[in-house]
Structure formats: structure tokens, C-alpha cells
């Protein structure tokens, strides 16, 4: 091989890095031995460590994968021969010896499920019971006592923890009861997690699709004014209105494409123009690359409505709204700008934080949904000042394989 200085330097660097890594790991191991202190401290640490490891696995609820990992930790905690976790329908995990007992366990535990009290089966009875309940014939050397403790969430027994040991001493019985209670707490936490997720989904659903009652009222009035003077236009407007409501009231799906949302905005603006005439001017610049981007359902229309309502309605003379959509790397960037009266940033901030029910509820709604779906860093960005107009920027990742439009 050629002896280039570059190669030598690289080799020296690799060796130095390796030495540094070994020294760092060695120091860390040494320190962990030194710091642990007395036997009692170490025992406490090990117990807590096993419990917290098992807790992580149980945080998704009682399922085979989590229970299998947790049962290993719990068995070492109890120091028994074998440990099993079940739910109400079957054995989820078995760790340790004597797996031939598995079919019989649900039968053995039936009393615990009924009564909700801890049961102890002494060493002599297991053979008989197993043969009677599950039809399992055991080898004579499998001679164990079993402690079966219920996992209770509220008043309900959702499963049992069964510990197998040569003899069921008082210590094992109490410890098994405590472990079952502890597992119950973890399961309750998992249920809490699940209901929190459900709550978030319900919140998104509740936030979704609130077209403003003002708009319906104003549109119908505007259409009414045309019925005598220009019946053809009135008819067209009613059809547009019907199409608009069909889109807004649709039940399926929390997502749509930018193209569909733009079409909805088109109808909306058509109806607003019936009311305002030429006072509303709109310009549009959309990059074709982002037309098929998935966005939350009715997330743009409230922003345009906000621009019309709070930007132009309060202002004298014509107002201009410009809507752009651009391809920006991994994101699609949509902006809505008006040259209307603007807003007070402090007031807007408190509306967005949910502290006051201003007139900008639509903005808060969209902002909350965007944060919910895409994370806090992808909320609305609003640039505004009184009298200076408003610029709203929305950034949505283009890649959303999990969201169906």
C-alpha cells in the first residue's frame, strides 16, 4: 500500500479514537461500581431498576410482547422459578421453567377471576388440580406451589400474575400481591395514555369543519338580493352555495388535497364577491408541484375568511387578497396576504393561546389543528400590525404517507 501522509494521519486518528472510547467506557464502569455504596442501597437500586424496566414494557397495556419482556424483570424481582402474566382470555407470557403447566393456568386462576382475591395453591395440590382442570399430566418432579394474584383496575380483574416456587412462603405471597397491584397501576397508566390519545383525536374532530354561521346568513341574504334583479345569477349562486356546503359538511376524512381546498375557497370567494362586488380582489400564484399536497380538511378556507372578514370588511375601498403556494424543499408553503386593517399582535397572541374569545376563532382553530397534526413547530406564522394588513404562512410537510386525502 502507498505510504501517503493522509493514510497515516487517518490511521492515527482511528487508533486515538478507539483508545479514547475504551478509556471512557472503563471509567464509567469503575465509577458505577464505586458509587453504588452499601448492600442495602444496591438492593434498593436493583429492585427499582427492575421495576422501572418492567414498567416501560407494560406502558402499552397488557399485550403479549410487553408482558413477555416485563415477566423476565418481574421474575428476577420475586426470585421465583417461573412467572406468568395472563389477561382475561389467556396466558400472555410465561417466563421460567414448567411451561407444560401453561394450558392449565387459566383453569387454576378461574377462582381468582371470580372472587378477585389472591389464591395460594400449595405444593401438594398442583398435580391433582392440573390434571383435573386442564387435563395436563405432569412429571412427578414438577412439584411446585403457585401464588396467583389478581391484576385489578378499579373493581375489574383484567388479568393475574402467577408465581411458581418450590414453597409458597408468606414473603412470596405478599410480594406477589404487591407485584400484581403494581402491574395494575401500570395497566391503568396505559389506559390513561390510550384515553388521552382518544381525547386528542376527539379534540381534532371537534375543531374540524366549523364554517361560520355569519357566512351562511350573509350569503343567503346576498343571494336573496339577486333573485328579482338577476335570477340567473341567483340560481348559479345557490348551486355554488350548495356545493360549498356539501364540501364543508362532508363526514369522511380529516384530510384533503390543496387542490380541493382551493376549489372550496373559489366557491367561498364567489359567494363573498356577490356581497362585496369588486371590493374583493384576489390574486393567486400556485406552484403546480404542490397541488396534490395533503392538508388538514378546511384549513385554508378559515384563513381566507379571516382575511375577508377582518382585513377587508372593516376597510374602506377595495381590498386585495393574494394566495400563494410554493414548493419549499420537503414542505409546501402556503401564504395568504391581505392589505386590510390588520390586527393587534398582543390581542392576536392571546386569542391563539386560547385566553380570549376574540373574533379570530377560525385562526386559533386552524393553528391548533396544525400543531396537533404536524407538531408545535409547524403552527401558523402570522405577521401583522394595526393598519398594515396581515400575512399568514402555513407550512405543511409534503410527505404524509399516514394521512389519506
Amino acid at each position: 500500500m502507498p505510504d501517503s501522509p493522509l493514510l497515516t494521519a487517518a490511521a492515527v486518528a482511528v487508533i486515538a479514537l478507539a483508545i479514547a472510547a475504551v478509556v471512557a467506557v472503563g471509567l464509567k464502569v469503575l465509577r458505577s461500581f464505586r458509587d453504588l455504596g452499601t448492600d442495602a442501597e444496591r438492593a434498593t437500586y436493583q429492585t427499582l431498576h427492575a421495576a422501572s424496566r418492567a414498567g416501560q414494557h407494560l406502558r402499552t397495556g397488557l399485550n403479549p410482547a410487553g408482558a413477555a419482556k416485563a415477566s423476565k424483570q418481574l421474575r428476577s424481582l420475586l426470585g421465583c422459578d417461573a412467572l406468568a402474566i395472563t389477561d382475561t382470555t389467556g396466558v400472555l407470557a410465561w417466563d421460567g421453567a414448567g411451561e407444560e403447566l401453561k394450558p392449565a393456568l387459566m383453569g387454576l386462576a378461574s377462582k381468582v377471576f371470580e372472587g378477585g382475591h389472591l389464591a395460594v395453591i400449595p405444593a401438594g395440590e398442583l398435580q391433582l388440580l392440573a390434571a383435573g382442570d386442564g387435563g395436563v399430566t405432569l412429571a412427578p418432579e414438577v412439584e411446585r406451589a403457585v401464588v396467583i394474584a389478581p391484576i385489578k383496575t378499579g373493581a375489574r380483574v383484567v388479568g393475574v400474575v402467577a408465581a411458581f416456587a418450590p414453597a409458597a412462603g408468606a414473603g412470596l405471597v405478599r410480594a406477589t400481591g404487591e407485584v400484581a397491584d403494581w402491574v395494575a397501576t401500570q395497566v391503568e397508566l396505559a389506559e390513561l395514555d390510550a384515553s388521552r390519545t382518544l381525547l386528542m383525536e376527539a379534540e381534532v374532530r371537534a375543531l374540524r369543519a366549523q364554517i361560520s354561521p355569519h357566512f351562511i346568513y350573509n350569503s343567503l341574504n346576498a343571494i336573496a338580493s339577486f333573485i328579482n334583479t338577476d335570477p340567473v345569477r341567483a340560481r348559479e349562486l345557490v348551486v355554488e352555495f350548495a356545493d360549498f356546503t356539501r364540501y364543508s359538511f362532508r363526514r369522511h376524512g380529516d384530510f384533503t388535497t390543496l387542490a380541493e381546498e382551493l376549489r372550496c375557497i373559489d366557491r367561498y370567494l364567489l359567494l363573498e364577491r356577490a356581497r362585496f362586488g369588486d371590493r374583493v380582489q384576489v390574486s393567486l400564484r400556485i406552484a403546480p408541484e404542490v397541488l396534490s399536497t395533503v392538508i388538514p380538511f378546511l384549513s385554508l378556507q378559515p384563513l381566507v375568511e379571516n382575511a375577508v372578514r377582518h382585513g377587508l370588511e372593516a376597510k374602506e375601498g377595495p381590498g386585495h387578497i393574494s394566495i400563494t403556494a410554493n414548493d419549499s424543499g420537503a414542505f409546501a408553503e402556503v401564504t395568504i396576504e391581505d392589505d386590510g386593517v390588520g390586527m393587534d399582535p398582543d390581542q392576536l397572541r392571546s386569542v391563539l393561546a386560547g385566553h380570549s374569545d376574540g373574533d379570530h376563532v377560525g385562526l386559533r382553530n386552524v393553528d391548533a389543528r396544525l400543531r396537533q397534526v404536524y407538531g408545535d413547530e409547524n403552527g401558523l406564522v402570522i405577521e401583522t400590525a394595526p393598519g398594515e394588513g396581515t400575512l399568514i404562512t402555513m407550512r405543511v410537510p409534503k410527505s404524509q404517507p399516514r394521512h389519506d386525502a
Binding site: D266, S283, L284, A287, P288, L291, G329, A330
Partner: protein, 491 residues
């Protein structure tokens, strides 16, 4: 040759690219017209854009050079480059479009529900992108050296500079129109000079009369390629096209799967028409400029031939056109790749911010610039062919099996990508260490054994880890293979 010609051509192309990039969208669409159908990209436009992005230095300069060197054997390159799109059309385009994933790492993460797979795929995609940009920069170095006499490094630096500037300054906003423009520029730049050259040959009274007599013999006396080389090359090109990072994104510009397929069909036509011209250059070069093959300047054939055969001011003008087309090829492919890579890097490393995207764009252009300035230009078509082989042995198995096989697991995908990458990568390294003359053909064209190996490892490991098939699989597969609702375009 007049050095001003090359510089002027390069400046004109860069300026046109930037101007269309910044203003293309603004000119055509500022009214209040919401009619979405008028805003979608027509399949013709999109097909031109795909062609513009896909036809790289290898196609523009390399194919003609390779035909000059090895005659009809080199025709397999244009055949493979084009037929790769047939594979894309049949197996990948529509399902991937339905998946909603914009990049290959996004797709693998969604399909296999695993962050680890995403990281490995990102790494491979970035590697492929860098390897693919390097030959573009080699081409730029060659073009600058031949046409202006400036030092070779000026070319790559200029290309990277223009690409970085337009991407960072947001000039890629109407990227579809820029790339479509590049396709027609490249086609014109090759077609017009060849027409003039053929006329000059047919007329027989102009400068062509002074040309040396056509030397019909094989100028390099290379042995013809065996069936192994041809099969291996075709495997690389057919399967490699599927995984190229900058190709897939284009299909999202179509409003629906049906027009995505029509686009692919048009792309096939556009590519077939385009490749007529490098082939013609190669054949003319074999007859009238065999000395280029002997002096190792085969890749410069397209740039030098118009000046040789026509001469005078007309020759200078035609050369300027060809140089402009060549820089169009370097710029379009490089910018398409840089944008795709920057998307992947910014998402995985910089958390997807706007600043992160710009930084990632600079990183993804600078690294290949470093590699290109440290390495020597090989035959352009050959080195791009190796990149295709690498893509075919890494990304392609995961993509194809991910779309068409329910049993793929994350462990299988990673094992397959690593196996393919290591095998093909070491074959490439071994080939460049041994040198072109000493490399046995199974090392020079590794795709025929690395691609099956990668497929086999992916399938076997997936079978062995059957329990890891993600729970989201059925839902995602349904989404991939059921027709989507058409994009709302009617009013």
C-alpha cells in the same frame, strides 16, 4: 477554438435557468382564476421536465464518446437508460404516487414502520446522489477545459455555484418549467448541429471536402462485449432507474395516477428521440474523428465535432449551441439531485426548517465538488452506469419488494441494502484500484450478481424475521394498490 464562445454559452444557459426559475411562475399565473385544471401540469410538460432532469452528462456527452470507443456495444446504454422508464411505468410509478411519500426514505419508513430503515435508506440515497453528481461535475470540467482553455476546476465550481445560488435563493419555485426548458434546450443543442453536419456531408462542397476520408475501421480495436457484460449492464440500467432519488418526485406533479402513467409513456418517446442524436454523433465521430478515441478525449466528441466538420463562424455558433446544451445537462441533473438530497438531509439532520434546507442544499452540492476535484474523469457513461448498478443493488430491491411483497420486514430491508451496498461498493473500489485494463468483467459490471444477491438476502432475512412484518402493512398495501380518487380538477 474561440474561448469566448464557451463562456458566453455557459453564461446564457445559467441566466436563462435562473430567469425561468424566478419568473416562470409569475408570468403565466397571476390572475384570480381558481380553475385548478388550468394549474395542473399537463403530461407533456411534465414528461419534458422528467426528460430534462434525467438526461445527464452521461447521455449528452458520454453515450457519443462510448460509441466512438466501442461502437455498437455502447448502444446498450441508451437502450437501458430508456427502458428503465418502462420498468418504472410497470412496477413503481403509480403505487408510489399513491403512497403519499415524497422521498424513498419516507416510503420505506411508512411501509416498514421503522426509523432504522429510514436512516439506512437516507444514507444510501444521499450516497447515490453524491455519486451521481460527481460525473456531472467531471463533465463540466471536461467541457470548460476543451472549449475555453480555462483550468478544469472552473467548470465544476461554476456549476455548483449556479445550482447553490438558485436553490438557496428560492429560484427552484417553478422547477418543472425550468427542467422542461432544459430538455428542449438539450434536444435542440444536439439536433441542430447534426442537421448542419449532415447537410455539409451531403453537399460535399464546403469544409467537409477537406475532411480526412472516412476511416471505417474500429479506431480503438476494442474487443466486442460478451453476453455477460451486456446482461449485467442492462440489469444495472433497468433496475437502477427505479431508485434514482430525483426521478420519483416528478410524478407528484401529475394530478393523478393515470396522468402519471401517460407522462411516463411520453417520457419513453422523448428519450427515444433524444438518443438518436448522440448515436449519430458517435457514428460520425467514428468516421471523421477517430483520433479523439486514441488520445483519450472520447467524451469531448460532441463538443468538438461541429467545429471540426463545419469550421468558421458557423462552426463556432454550433459549438456554442452544443456547449450550452451540455451545461444545460450538468445544471438540470445536478439541481434536480441537489434539491432531492437537500430534502432528505434537511429532514433527517436539520429537522426540516427552511434554513436547514438551504444548508443541506449547500452540503449536498459541496461534497461531490470535493470528490470531483480529487478524482479523475473516467468515461462518463461508464461511471454513471456504475451509479445505476449501485442503486439497483441497494434501493431497488427494497422498493420493488416493498411495493409488491407483503412479507418484507425492516430487518430484511436493512440486510439487503447493506449487502448490495457492500458488494457493489467494493466491486467499484476494486475496479478503480485495479484500473480499467486489469479489471475482470465480473468486477467491472457487477450488477448481474450484486442485484440478485441483494434480492436474495432481503427475501431470506425477511422470511427468517417473519414476526417483524409491521402491523400497518395491510393498510398501506391497500393504499398502494387501490386506485385513488382523481384530483378535483373540474369545477
Amino acid at each position: 477554438m474561440n474561448p469566448v464562445v464557451g463562456v458566453a454559452a455557459f453564461a446564457a444557459v445559467s441566466l436563462a435557468t435562473a430567469v425561468i426559475g424566478f419568473y416562470g411562475l409569475r408570468i403565466s399565473r397571476t390572475t384570480g382564476d381558481f380553475y385548478v385544471a388550468s394549474r395542473t401540469v399537463k403530461p407533456w410538460w411534465n414528461a419534458s421536465a422528467i426528460g430534462g432532469e434525467y438526461l445527464s452528462a452521461a447521455s449528452f456527452l458520454g453515450v457519443a464518446g462510448l460509441i466512438l470507443l466501442s461502437g455498437t456495444d455502447a448502444l446498450w446504454y441508451p437502450v437501458g437508460y430508456t427502458a428503465g422508464y418502462l420498468m418504472l411505468l410497470l412496477f413503481v410509478a403509480a403505487p408510489l404516487r399513491r403512497s403519499g411519500a415524497y422521498t424513498i426514505p419516507d416510503f420505506t419508513e411508512a411501509r416498514l414502520d421503522s426509523r432504522a430503515v429510514r436512516r439506512v435508506t437516507s444514507l444510501v440515497v444521499v450516497l447515490v446522489g453524491w455519486l451521481y453528481i460527481v460525473p456531472q461535475l467531471h463533465g463540466a470540467a471536461l467541457a470548460i477545459r476543451i472549449t475555453t482553455g480555462l483550468p478544469a476546476w472552473v467548470g465544476p465550481v461554476a456549476v455548483v455555484g449556479v445550482v447553490c445560488f438558485t436553490v438557496v435563493a428560492g429560484g427552484m419555485r417553478s422547477i418543472t418549467f425550468v427542467q422542461a426548458f432544459q430538455y428542449w434546450l438539450k434536444l435542440t443543442a444536439l439536433a441542430v448541429p447534426i442537421v448542419f453536419m449532415l447537410l455539409a456531408l451531403g453537399g460535399g462542397d464546403s469544409a467537409a471536402a477537406e475532411l480526412p476520408p472516412p476511416s471505417t475501421a474500429n479506431p480503438t480495436a476494442l474487443a466486442p462485449a460478451g453476453p455477460y457484460q451486456i446482461i449485467s449492464l442492462l440489469v444495472a440500467l433497468l433496475f437502477g432507474t427505479l431508485g434514482l432519488p430525483h426521478v420519483l418526485v416528478r410524478f407528484y406533479t401529475n394530478p393523478d395516477g393515470q396522468s402519471a402513467r401517460r407522462t411516463t409513456l411520453i417520457v419513453l418517446g422523448l428519450l427515444s428521440v433524444f438518443y438518436l442524436f448522440p448515436t449519430a454523433y458517435g457514428m460520425l465521430g467514428r468516421a471523421f474523428a477517430p483520433d479523439l478515441a486514441r488520445s483519450g478525449q472520447a467524451d469531448a466528441l460532441v463538443l468538438l465535432l461541429p467545429g471540426r466538420m463545419i469550421g468558421g463562424v458557423a462552426g463556432d455558433l454550433l459549438t456554442a449551441l452544443v456547449v450550452a446544451g451540455a451545461f444545460g445537462a450538468f445544471l438540470s441533473t445536478t439541481s434536480g439531485l441537489v434539491v432531492s438530497l437537500a430534502g432528505v438531509i434537511s429532514q433527517d439532520v436539520f429537522g426540516g426548517s427552511v434554513r436547514g434546507f438551504r444548508l443541506a442544499a449547500v452540503v449536498s452540492a459541496m461534497v461531490p465538488l470535493g470528490i470531483a476535484s480529487m478524482t479523475e474523469s473516467q468515461a462518463l457513461a461508464g461511471s454513471v452506469g456504475l451509479v445505476f448498478a449501485f442503486t439497483a443493488s441497494t434501493i431497488c430491491p427494497v422498493l420493488l419488494l416493498g411495493i409488491w411483497w407483503r412479507g418484507l420486514t425492516d430487518a430484511g430491508a436493512i440486510a439487503g441494502m447493506v449487502t448490495g451496498g457492500v458488494l457493489c461498493g467494493s466491486a467499484m473500489v476494486a475496479g478503480s484500484v485495479l484500473g480499467a485494463a486489469q479489471t475482470p468483467s465480473w468486477l467491472a459490471q457487477p450488477a448481474a450478481w450484486t442485484v440478485p444477491a441483494a434480492f436474495a438476502v432481503t427475501i431470506l432475512v425477511s422470511r427468517a424475521t417473519r414476526g417483524r412484518v409491521p402491523r400497518t402493512m395491510t393498510r398501506l398495501m391497500t393504499r398502494l394498490h387501490t386506485p385513488e380518487r382523481p384530483l378535483a380538477t373540474e369545477r
